[in-house]
Symmetry: none
Subunit: 240 residues, 2 copies
């Protein structure tokens, strides 16, 4: 990963989120915040998160429950944070799939060290084939996008090979159809990086994609522009 890691802070206390957030931003991390499980799920659906800092004590769903929930369909690294420094929690957290455990109060240095450690560990740890990455095919308009072979097949049999960037961008769109995605989001989802000032790379890539898959690139029906908002995959998508 060449871009800076994107970290999601889940905590119901705004002051804590902001405090942690500032410290991590200073370190060069990109940050998103959620105050509860609902907001967390929304962000996980909308962004490519590299690590979750998950508070154990949350109103409504507990951190442990959320942790298990996340693990059910993702292996994004999780660091559990809690004020209850009891060993029991540590064990439970790790059993539920957390990658590390951080008792409050913690210092900035320790936090950063843990984050870097977990990131390094999960990055380098050789793949466990437990994640049966059963990828899919997405059907939309006249096309079928095969997530495995990175191919685009038109209903008349024409096969089109996509470049890496085109594929990544199209996947981001196809996985979130009929939803407006900002350039910022798309950059995060497809490239895993933040936008620089006057960043137009998404626009260019969209333009190139349209040339390939729109019947009339000057009148795009599949990838539509939302003025002032971003782009949206307008076509209906069925995953198979």
């Amino acid at each position: 990963m060449t871009a800076s890691p994107h970290i999601l802070i889940v905590d119901d206390h705004r002051e804590i989120r902001d405090l942690v957030s500032r410290a991590l931003v200073r370190e060069g991390f990109r940050i998103s915040q959620a105050s509860d499980g609902k907001a967390m799920r929304k962000i996980l659906a909308d962004a490519r998160i590299d690590l979750i800092l998950l508070d154990l004590m949350l109103p409504g769903e507990s951190g442990l429950s959320l942790c298990r929930d996340i693990r059910a369909h993702s292996n994004v690294p999780i660091i559990m944070v809690t004020a209850k420094g009891e060993e029991v929690d540590r064990v439970i957290g790790l059993e539920l799939g957390a990658d590390d455990y951080l008792p409050k109060p913690f210092g900035t240095r320790e936090l950063i060290a843990r984050i870097n450690s977990v990131l390094r560990r999960t990055q380098r740890s050789v793949q466990e084939p437990e994640a049966e990455n059963q990828r899919r095919n997405y059907r939309f308009d006249r096309w079928v996008l095969s997530a495995d072979s990175r191919e685009l097949l038109r209903d008349d049999g024409v096969s089109l090979s996509l470049s890496t960037g085109e594929f990544d961008l199209l996947m981001a769109l196809v996985e979130r159809p009929q939803r407006v995605l900002s350039r910022e989001q798309l950059l995060d989802l497809a490239r895993g990086r933040a936008a620089s000032a006057f960043d137009r790379s998404i626009d260019t890539q969209v333009s190139r994609l349209r040339k390939k898959l729109e019947a009339d690139p000057s009148d795009p029906r599949i990838i539509q522009t939302v003025w002032g908002g971003g782009y949206m995959l307008a076509a209906k998508v069925t995953a198979e």
Copy 2:
């Protein structure tokens, strides 16, 4: 064995697996991990493992049971690891076919020394072809890669011989289909070494492989390039 040994760590604690994994990766070993017997069998079926580091205490099937089970149809070296430092276990483990025994806690140096010792000790016998159970044929696209004869067989009967390097690289890819592998990873998996600056050897080898097995090497469908990422075997692979 030109490539570095491929070691399988079987332990239910993720922390321990990662810790050991990191230490061994640093030593140049190739690592796979399993958290239980099921995952272990899956890996043993899909990869050529040179040594198993098997924890005695596992939820569900115990390490002893797994050890006996492995021995029933393979002679892959096994090092038993356990926290219970009792002599009894050692005896039982060795009786069941373990090649060595390592009590927790153990240091990195000792672990590596034991592994190297066992590998050296068992190298001769492993060469003896009783390992029919380990070697497999991989079927993908129009090809069958025979792990025994290092040959590629096309479905029209054409047979193609591969050089050592081509074979090792293709095995690395075929054992991990639909996953992007960085040049760094591929060098480690296929050659057992780290990349030097401006290392392009993987690129040339991929190029050579494509020439042999792609229908149209200028539009590769089997080994795909992931721009800025590495390579990926796009075809579906079935082991038989």
